[in-house]
Assembly symmetry: C2
Homo-oligomer: 154 residues x 2
DNA sequence: ATTAAATAGTACTAGAATAGTCCTCAATTA
DNA sequence: TAATTGAGGACTATTCTAGTACTATTTAAT
């Protein structure tokens, strides 16, 4: 299904809330209450995001979490790879170990191109974009999207 | 990790072999032998691909599998969704059931844009592209990729 | 100093999804 | 009719994910 994990989905919900109210730190409990996600789960996600340098934490009473950078500087790609590891469609994109085909595999390079493309797409969207309301009926949507990988071949 | 399942990876390996030798039908056993994937697994994948109308099968002695269309007409997106179901990063892209946030969720629409972008990327690559050798040092690669989603906002 | 509030880190459990195998039935060819 | 090959489904084992719990550490307020 090529899907993100639930935790990643939660993370974007949490982060967009934080991006909207970026004036003070938020305690894990507060975030849990507002988003409706269970506290231990919220807590887990926040810790991961701190490690990934997406958030900054302050310990102790009155402590909490805040965005490490402006929402414009935090990309969706970062968030995803924080929670799920590197963005790599196939095993071989990460390491060639474990791929029996590796030796004579012609298609590996092509996967990595596709991978790049998706990565670029995800990197071009920031938290600031995510909290913006979607334009209804994006005009000429179909035409705005350049067919990306194929152009390298044709 | 935003990764494809192993079975999908196998499927592309199998299909690219079949695309390279598209002159006659291939029995499951033959494919297993050549690709090195275990027969029952190959068999399972082939059946799924037949159901998805990517392959056509012939039963009986001298039977086997063949591409349903020319390699140029089979997209990577098709193959992926055959094996993993619809391409949808988040649950909400498929059904809104099961998403607690649905009511006041601002970010849903944005995910679906991102999703579209990825889908388009995958649809633009065909089997024929996959079996072509990668151009070494794709020229001006960085510039060829249009920043896709963000352009809708900015 | 003491206490309370908050995160850090890690370990664990239960459940779900994936990968892989096997068996029986149907169709085609020789 | 016998041999070959796919169709379809059931089943198992393993891995991954989601969620929870517990202890230690840090800071602020009293
Ligand atoms: S290198 Fe892994 S499938 Fe080709
Ligand atoms: S609708 Fe599901 S996260 Fe917004």
């Amino acid at each position: 299904m090529l899907r993100l994990s639930k935790l990643t989905d939660y993370a974007t919900v949490i982060l967009s809330f934080m991006a909207r109210d970026n004036t003070h730190v938020h305690a894990a409990m507060e975030i849990a209450a507002i988003t409706g996600i269970a506290l231990p789960t919220v807590s887990k996600i926040l810790k991961v995001l701190v490690n990934a340098k997406v958030l900054i934490s302050t310990r102790g009473a009155k402590g909490g979490y805040a965005l490490a950078r402006a929402p414009e500087k935090i990309t969706v790609a970062e968030v995803i790879s924080a929670l799920e590891g590197p963005i790599a469609l196939t095993e071989c994109s990460i390491s060639l170990q474990g791929c029996e085909q590796a030796a004579g595999c012609e298609i590996r390079g092509n996967w990595s191109l596709i991978n790049q493309t998706i990565h670029n797409a995800l990197e071009s969207v920031t938290l600031a974009d995510m909290i913006r309301p979607v334009r209804s009926q994006a005009p000429a949507w179909e035409k705005e999207i350049l067919i990306p990988v194929a152009s390298l071949y044709r």
